[in-house]
Amino acid sequence: MKVLLAVKRVVDYNVKVHVKSDQSGVDLANVKMSMNPFCEIAVEEAVRLKEKNLATEIVVVSIGPGAAQEQLRSALALGADRAVLVEANEALNALAVAKLLKAVVDQEQPQLIILGKQSIDSDNNQTGQMLAALCGYAQGTFASNIDIAGDKVIVTREVDSGLQTVALNLPAIVTTDLRLNEPRYASLPNIMKAKKKPLQILTPEALGISTSSTSKTLKVEAPASRGAGIKIKTVAELIEKLKNEAKVI
């Protein structure tokens, strides 16, 4: 079974971003960039499927700037076999990303496609579901467990009311949630080996895909700030404040 993985280069999760003064976006100059945490979980899951001899080949794809090769090399160091970068220098919305991924799916014909459920920059939680619609495949979003059973994938999903398990015909799309696994770190020898693994660079033009969007960001502002309140000394004082000052109990 061939597995296709999608990973995104995003601002590191430890960075607290600041809005640019011209409100055109957030300031990403000299900010640490990393693989989106949910994509790291996707990589780990694919590698585990290969270790269990369920996956025969892992292809990792990223849509983004040339610098996203760094994240693709990380995935190769963790166990992916080859990489594809669809180079796009401006930020793309989910529809364009889903269309580009669909073009790669058409070329690669994977049986299972694993993505993160959400990227921590745009916080959209859309791409996997949109790719599933474009491919006409079933989708198992917010996965906390996956099992391959013949021509189906059994996905346990983290939902508002608890956990839901569904069976999906392959090929299918899975998006990862936090509890799916704990990603490993790459070893130094594997990082060295990853430098020699194949990395193909494509462009939206070469794939014949329009990257236009129906959404336009007009401005980006800082949220209303919330200052620290007061420190109190005792539980009795806390109750008094909640009853008489805040009036919430």
Partner: protein
């Protein structure tokens, strides 16, 4: 112009987030139609028809929709939009796990970029939504003929659950893609209020040390009529189930009172609760970042403070 709102329901009842979503639809303006898709949804449809401001309820009652499988529900929604001769300018759903699962699939079928988790309506085509874990707010304009939008409940006060008298229309078409099936579920059972809609939320973090200690929070919550939440660290450590996680990628809450016990206050957690009206932080580490957003900070051992609080309220 009309707006189609996808109802969220569970256990034969309308989930409150539906009322916040109808509120967002009212701000956009236009006739509001509500789709109730599921199996044996008579009671839910009747409740939806009573919601203030709803003109029509569309009911798709079939086993194909029983578990909100997106492979079946998304084509149903797409069909309604096409069948109604393009009267729909917007499709809205609450940003619940079902809404997030289904809506982008609908949007892709219409070649549209959906807009996730709006917190404000600026005009019929312009919306505000948080990005970067709520550290920035984007104003987004959609040029799509059909705007596909999920609504963050905390951004909109709910409409009244009573007072409406909508017409009810049965949708007989059945979409069963045959690509997916429901296997089972483990539902969280709780007599406490729903986390996303609770007036008071008591949350625990890594400082709780183990799952058993969450009993302290349950006791306090029961005294206050509160719901109980958890930080990602507490859920990852197995102290609490995933449906209790509050944060950027978990549940977003904005109760009147949020009590954070043993939670350090990572930006990902703050993203899920910083719009609460009053925040109380109880933590023995006075440097914990949670104190930077807390209205009332108590530097104390939670194992003493929480039982004392429960005894005194």
């Amino acid at each position: 112009m009309a707006i189609l709102v996808i109802a969220e329901h569970a256990l034969s009842a309308l989930v409150p987030a539906t009322l916040n979503t109808v509120a967002a639809a009212k701000k956009i303006g236009g006739d509001i139609h509500v789709l109730v898709a599921g199996l044996n949804v008579g009671a839910v449809s009747a409740a939806a028809a009573k919601v203030a401001g709803v003109a029509k309820v569309l009911v798709a009652d079939n086993s194909a929709y029983a578990h909100q499988l997106p492979e079946n529900v998304a084509p149903l929604i797409a069909d309604l939009i096409i069948d109604q001769h393009a009267i729909y300018s917007h499709v809205l759903a609450p940003a619940t796990s079902n809404g997030k699962n289904i809506l982008p699939r609908v949007a892709a079928l219409f070649d549209v970029d959906p807009i996730s988790e709006i917190i404000a309506v600026e005009s019929a085509d312009t919306f505000k939504r948080p990005i970067y874990a709520g550290n920035a707010i984007a104003t987004v304009q959609s040029s799509a003929a059909l705007k596909v939008i999920s609504v963050r409940s905390t951004g909109f006060d709910p409409v009244a659950a009573e007072g409406g008298a909508a017409t009810v229309e049965i949708i007989a078409t059945v979409h069963d893609a045959g690509k997916s099936s429901f296997v089972g579920e483990e539902l969280a059972r709780s007599d406490r209020p729903e986390l996303a809609a609770a007036r008071i939320v008591v949350s625990g973090g890594r400082g709780m040390q183990n799952g058993d200690n969450f009993k302290l929070l349950y006791s306090l919550a029961d005294k206050l009529g509160a719901s109980v939440g958890a930080s990602r660290a507490a859920v990852d450590a197995g102290f609490a189930p995933n449906d209790m996680q509050v944060g950027q990628t978990g549940k977003i809450v904005a109760p009147q009172l949020y009590i954070a016990a043993g939670i350090s206050g990572a930006i990902q957690h703050l993203a899920g609760m910083k719009d609460s009206k009053v925040i109380v932080a109880i933590n023995k580490d006075e440097e914990a970042p949670i104190f930077q957003v807390a209205d009332y900070g108590l530097v104390a051992d939670l194992f003493e403070a929480i039982p004392e609080l429960a005894a005194l309220v």
